[in-house]
Symmetry: C2
Subunit: 210 residues, 2 copies
């Protein structure tokens, strides 16, 4: 049989299964093998469980939008963080994406409010200040007059540009700070990349201030 | 703020998003990080795309069952392989799972038919011959009288038991063979595990027969 191809298309999967695998492969980080494994798992689950998963997908898409105040993902017009009276309105943290809000919230340390830009400035991709939620940010800062604005944007080239731009833009209104970059806690100095080491050296602090 | 916990449950995700993440985490190999990434991706997709994915899940579960003849996954009562007149009915390949049929079909080399056992014998888990599609297999072999039955089951302890059991069971009806085990093609002898090397030695062939 070796080397002989009849030219027939070999149908490996039943059609509804093939369609599901194709759909799953469109998700980020899901390759053909993972998509097949997930699809075969789905078929073995009960009808109710599959219905629940399908409904959760539809509901998440339908019900989750952006908070009118801070642009974080929210099921309500104003998100739970913005409408929580216990949050400190004197501190405002600017992040690029809703994912960053989630990461910071998980630390349970930050009690202020957020502003989600919806990306970082990237002239090559045609993303300037107008494409980000910066106009709303300036309005918010001038109206709410926070005592401190913390810029928490990853230090990529685009991130740095955005951070410096925001610093210049908001300095007239309030104190603007940025989060520290350096050696990760538990990280080994030997294995840190050079840029991180430079940042760690630049951000060194006197013993008195610790 | 360090160490102070107000006791409030921190709501990191909007509720429909949390529910979707919870649902996605029930899938095999999907941890909290991946579930979050997938969920945030879904929200950014168009409503139609999400609807398509949800529908594909429901359809795959509803429409795909087992072939009455070979127990492979199928959208029809008889699967495409069993109903294909071009397939060689003189060869029958026994596999543990539908996944194995898919793997063998992808080689495009095997043109015979299949029989899916639905697992391997495992007394510890209460899986004996009665829990597998073995009665139907014997009926099929005695009726259809294939010229060769190939047992293609992975050589785990349970797989070996099942293979030997099937060999004894089917020998009275026809010629029974099993697939070869040995060094994977492209594999380095130095890095092969000992069991594989033993199998490779045991399965050695004379130059004449190659």
């Amino acid at each position: 049989m070796k080397g002989i191809h009849t030219g027939d298309k070999i149908t490996v999967y039943a059609r509804p299964l093939a369609r599901l695998i194709e759909q799953l492969q469109r998700l980020p980080g899901i390759g053909p093998k993972t998509a097949q494994r997930l699809a075969l798992h789905v078929i073995k689950r009960s009808g109710d469980e599959v219905q629940d998963l399908a409904q959760a997908l539809i509901n998440a898409k339908k019900q989750v939008g952006l908070c009118r105040e801070c642009f974080h993902l929210s099921a309500d017009p104003i998100c739970e963080i913005c409408s929580n009276p216990k949050r400190d309105i004197k501190t405002l943290c600017i992040v690029a994406d809703s994912r960053d809000v989630i990461a910071l919230e998980k630390t349970r340390e930050y009690k202020g409010k957020y502003h989600v830009l919806g990306g970082v400035m990237s002239p090559i991709d045609g993303v300037g200040a107008e494409q980000l939620n910066i106009e709303a940010l300036v309005r918010r800062v001038s109206q709410q007059q926070p005592q401190e604005v913390i810029v928490a944007i990853s230090p990529s080239m685009e991130g740095e540009t955005t951070t410096l731009y925001l610093g210049q833009l908001l300095k007239p209104f309030t104190k603007v700070t940025r989060i520290a970059f350096g050696l990760p806690v538990g990280g080994d100095l030997e294995y840190a990349d050079e840029v991180t080491l430079v940042k760690a050296l630049e951000g060194r602090q006197e013993f008195d201030s610790i």
